[in-house]
Symmetry: C5
Subunit: 354 residues, 5 copies
Amino acid sequence: MRTFGKNESNIGLAPGTLVHVGEKKAEKVVIKILAYNSEKLIEKKLETVEDCLAFKDQPDINLWINVDGLDRVDIIEKLGNYFNIHPLTLEDVLNTGQRPKTEDYESYIYTVLKMILLDTKKEEITLDQVSIILGPNYILSFQEREGDVFDPVRERFKNPASRLRKNGVDHLAYSLIDAIVDNYFLILEHFGEEIENLEEGLIIQPRPETLKAVQKYKRDMITLRKSVWPLRELINGLQRVESDLIKETTRIYLRDIYDHTIQVIDSVEDFRDILSSMVDIYLSSISYRMNDVMKVLTVIATIFIPLTFIAGVYGMNFEYMPELKWRWGYPAIMLAMSLIGVSMFAYFKKRRWV
Amino acid sequence: MRTFGKNESNIGLAPGTLVHVGEKKAEKVVIKILAYNSEKLIEKKLETVEDCLAFKDQPDINLWINVDGLDRVDIIEKLGNYFNIHPLTLEDVLNTGQRPKTEDYESYIYTVLKMILLDTKKEEITLDQVSIILGPNYILSFQEREGDVFDPVRERFKNPASRLRKNGVDHLAYSLIDAIVDNYFLILEHFGEEIENLEEGLIIQPRPETLKAVQKYKRDMITLRKSVWPLRELINGLQRVESDLIKETTRIYLRDIYDHTIQVIDSVEDFRDILSSMVDIYLSSISYRMNDVMKVLTVIATIFIPLTFIAGVYGMNFEYMPELKWRWGYPAIMLAMSLIGVSMFAYFKKRRWV
Amino acid sequence: MRTFGKNESNIGLAPGTLVHVGEKKAEKVVIKILAYNSEKLIEKKLETVEDCLAFKDQPDINLWINVDGLDRVDIIEKLGNYFNIHPLTLEDVLNTGQRPKTEDYESYIYTVLKMILLDTKKEEITLDQVSIILGPNYILSFQEREGDVFDPVRERFKNPASRLRKNGVDHLAYSLIDAIVDNYFLILEHFGEEIENLEEGLIIQPRPETLKAVQKYKRDMITLRKSVWPLRELINGLQRVESDLIKETTRIYLRDIYDHTIQVIDSVEDFRDILSSMVDIYLSSISYRMNDVMKVLTVIATIFIPLTFIAGVYGMNFEYMPELKWRWGYPAIMLAMSLIGVSMFAYFKKRRWV
Amino acid sequence: MRTFGKNESNIGLAPGTLVHVGEKKAEKVVIKILAYNSEKLIEKKLETVEDCLAFKDQPDINLWINVDGLDRVDIIEKLGNYFNIHPLTLEDVLNTGQRPKTEDYESYIYTVLKMILLDTKKEEITLDQVSIILGPNYILSFQEREGDVFDPVRERFKNPASRLRKNGVDHLAYSLIDAIVDNYFLILEHFGEEIENLEEGLIIQPRPETLKAVQKYKRDMITLRKSVWPLRELINGLQRVESDLIKETTRIYLRDIYDHTIQVIDSVEDFRDILSSMVDIYLSSISYRMNDVMKVLTVIATIFIPLTFIAGVYGMNFEYMPELKWRWGYPAIMLAMSLIGVSMFAYFKKRRWV
Amino acid sequence: MRTFGKNESNIGLAPGTLVHVGEKKAEKVVIKILAYNSEKLIEKKLETVEDCLAFKDQPDINLWINVDGLDRVDIIEKLGNYFNIHPLTLEDVLNTGQRPKTEDYESYIYTVLKMILLDTKKEEITLDQVSIILGPNYILSFQEREGDVFDPVRERFKNPASRLRKNGVDHLAYSLIDAIVDNYFLILEHFGEEIENLEEGLIIQPRPETLKAVQKYKRDMITLRKSVWPLRELINGLQRVESDLIKETTRIYLRDIYDHTIQVIDSVEDFRDILSSMVDIYLSSISYRMNDVMKVLTVIATIFIPLTFIAGVYGMNFEYMPELKWRWGYPAIMLAMSLIGVSMFAYFKKRRWV
């Protein structure tokens, strides 16, 4: 089971030592820069981290530097130095076992959350950590690898009239968080359908594979829950943070995400509830089917066992068995056996066993 | 399962873009106006949205404009402009995945809740979103389609002495919310009866169909719960909102709805409890019936299997089997077998298996 | 299942309309008056509601007017007018679907609670609503029909030295509530015994009827819980109400009821717990008994089926079966079969199946 | 099930009437007095309640009067009068259905709690109520009968250097409560062992008696819980009471009891958890054993039923059955049957049924 | 089950008496001293407790005295006297049944927590109590025996540039607590893997041993929970303690541990959830396998029992059974029986029983 928190490789290290802690997901580090204001928009992939200095501290220009891949500690350290990021923040950026949280470092606000990617083929979810550092006119975002849920945000940048372009970087921060939370709904919708299918199958044709799938989804829900529950607190923290970095207008938008977060939490809890009751339904369905099997066995056995006994009696080799000599003995006994069989069948019919 | 929240079509859109999000339930948009004070009452279906301007801002006239159908974004945008409604409110009106909530926009109070319609034939519930915008002397209400639970309110308007006519639009807002909450009781009563029937059937004749029905009602309860839980907070918010739009006298009436809301919540939780325990009862009932089946099999089999064995012994073809030659061998063995059979039956009788 | 809240007949009515809502339990209305102070005591059944005016507003006289039956709305309305009771209070008195609550109307305090009557023959509980209006020197109490739990209170009135006679009407109000809560203990004790019997039966002789009884008691507990939970808040409200109607000395006594209420709530929750686990015990007991049945079947079948096979072999009609000609063939095979039978029985004995 | 609260004999009585309510556990009342300061110690059994007056109000003497048995209401009333105890307190002392609580009467602090006595032979717990009245220089304690958990406290008195002797009566009150809470640990340890044994038996040899024992312990836990939960609040109350009767130094010691109380509560909840899951384990174990039984039946039946059929075929009496005449027919068919039997056995072996 | 709290040997003793309460885990007491500042580092094993005085109260030297083993009460008392430790603290140090907590004694802060050691061979966890006394320039730590989780901390001391060396003893205290909490993650990871294996086995091959293991892990989780839950409060207390002993910089680091603690708590709760549902899965798996067994039995029995009956019929010895004389009687009956057998098999195939 996925657990958050320190990994073995980290345990015992002095706090503050910069090491990438977590699964290696990306081979190399890609830095993309996006410099914008309402008039112009520059989008560029950086060759070296030093290239970003050209864009830094230009008046009236908002900067979004996105780093995909956390393996090159030196690059991240340099970037951190350029923007005066506290070592503890960088440590958190590199350790992908963070619980979603937001922390106010006065010159910037650090937010870390989990982006959920769904591999629909393998029916597997992956948790990627996204760190967002919101400064006065820049945003640094760090992801574990390329490929994210921010494409709609990037698309909106192309429209000069969009709020993203007209507002400051705090609106961009909001948009990124909003994109991550929006994506949760997609994941939940997918889970909703899968769980519904599962339940159908559970009643009709219960199999251990179904049970395994139920357990798998239960675990996924635990993973999701760990990512989503702290979000409520996080958004709350962002709304109430005493900092000029987040403007009043953006705070109203944050209220919207807060509503969404609660909806996500509610859904996760509902799914957990439903999944929990599924094991009981599985058991019930198996019992029901076993009952069916037992009825067939019982009907057949209770009809034929007495008849076989009767046949056995007249198969005995006693010398003095007068019935055996009778002319109508055989038809009479056949008739008697038929009557017994039919009446037993009728009895089971009445009890609705057949 | 029905989840609240953004739908796929909405994800990725810039916040504030007006699009109708949700299932299309109505073909066209119907606007009805009701202008009233204690002396007169005008009820009219509008041809175009511009017609409402004739009634707007007349002194001493309260206005209730009800819009059925959310597909014509242009109409709703126009109406919003006439009454100076904030774009974010209109966005919420159009997105039918809202969680019930109330928001104070100073010049008006926006309230959104869920009206539950029951299709008794299909045993299905539908959630329709109702948005109520309460201004100083007008109410705008938006529904997903025609057909609602407000007919008793409309009926009461015909009586000039009714409180509705004598009081302001805040009393109308209260009455509309009250009508929606009252309707929940009807739904709950219906569910109460259905669940009681289900439980009866569960004990007497457990079948997978019953289990399916239980699961269906469980889901309905989750849906209801999502609509009802936020209501408590909503009514609380309305009671405490610092706004002249809601008069002191109306706040007392809101306390009444608050009580009702808690009763609805309690009942929903009770139903959930009862439904949860039903799967266990189903399982118990199946086990009990299986036990019955097993007893029959066991009684028949354990009586006749030993007897068949005895018959088999005397059906053996050994040359030297003295019993076979005895004159009374056959009657003796028949008697012995009868005795064995009867005594085993008596034993089962004693153990209450037959 | 009993649900509180509006009934169908009431839904759609304008709030404030006086109609008796709820089951009709009494044929006619009986009004009894009890005028008392520490010196004298007058107890009388009133013919008409107007007769109470003779007692009203006499100096130094405390008045308790008890109304049994809620069908005559006119009588209750008149009485309300004499004592200046707010129409909303009268509406609540008449609607028997109230949640227990207390409301301060300044000139009087309105309290509504549920009296539980137990029909020990049918093992059924009935909830009767009791409304208590506590004024400066009068108490109006309304019940759904004659027959209540107040007889011990009435008895105590006969003693001029009793606190009831020496204290004001607030002490009477306390005594009435105390009598209702005390009665809950009787009900709970009865349930406690019934549930214990049930559990005994559940383990020894599980039957669907027992399961039905468990479900019935579960429902009763839900009903009780709905009546009892709000009591805590109610008593709290009475203790803290800022009103001269309840004297300091009486508030101390109310603390006592508060303790009792918590005890009742605790017991109800414990019973719910126990009842919930009973379905599991039922299932376990059935399984245990089924196991017993299966063991008998298995022992008999596994002993005799192989023996029957052997007998069958020597019942075959092959011409060349040398054993059949042997002098000691028959006794030898009988011995062999006995040995097999005995050793299998010993095996089952060892496994504790017999 | 043991429920706290009023007993039948008390219901209907005027509050404040002194009657011993509860089971009569002691035949007579024993009053013991212990007068002490750091220099001297007098321990005495009183003949009459008046004898205590000799010790009362002596300067620099702390007094502990312990009353065993609550049947002689007159004695308790007298004692109450000597020390100016409020009638409501005495009523609570006499009613053994109290919930543990502490009440500040300014001139003294009244504390009531439950002492748990374990009858290890019958495996039964008894709840005895202990009332402690802490005055400025005296403690009155009331128990339902002789025999308590205070012997270690009495032992410590003999040491003049002990804190008990050097501190005031508030330290004695603390020591008494501490002794009662300490005793809970003993009870819990006992239950812990019993429950562990039970669980072992549940998996190895599930029987209805074990289930009954589980239910019994569940009830005991409910009883314990009722005694322990209110303790937390009680100790809290004592720590924060605004009274000079409890000195600052003693309050620090009370913090210690608070910790213990939470440990007791935690353990009780854990035991409840474990006991709850035991019914499921019982059911699982039965099912597992039934599965075992079924496998034996199935293996034997499925091997021999087909063989018996074959034997039956060659037992038929058709005239033209060529096999019967063959020289090697019998050995051939025996071989065939052996092969069938062995291969079926191998199949079951492979499926791990044998 | 492991319960915290007083042990039998302690019950009845006067509070404050110094006795080692708990299991004896160490044979002798080992005292190690570590005196350090950023320039030098002295590490030494003390022969006698008096030797530590040489290091005490040296200016600019931080002292860490670690005591392994609690059996020599005299040594601990002496040490306590040297550093002016309150007797109540020493009592808590010696009683290993403490709940994790922190207490501010002004001149020092006392913290007690549980170190969890895992014996991977026996799959057993042991709880060792660690007491940390943080003074102005010293730390006293007490453990139940040698062998702990502090080795990485000791390793870091060797680096003169490490924060440990540069900061005061409060940073050391933080590091020790951090090491203990870090170790919880290792334990949890181990449990996570074991539980996952268990679950796999539960579905594929359910056995009572698996159930026993589940119960064992459940208990371990209860033990862990008891150690971890109070940690949250503990860290909170340390962060907010009004004392100069903990510097502002260290408090920031404590926030980090707080996050970790919540992660540990979450994981423990998740494991409990998963383990709880495992009993149900076990039951389901057994039922599924029983169903399998039953199907085999039913298929074999229902096919061959009727056929055996037919064979039995033609094994009867009636004189007048014309079929027996027919030339093709035998082949005809064999064909009929084959047809019956095949069609029944086909029927079961269709119902997916084979």
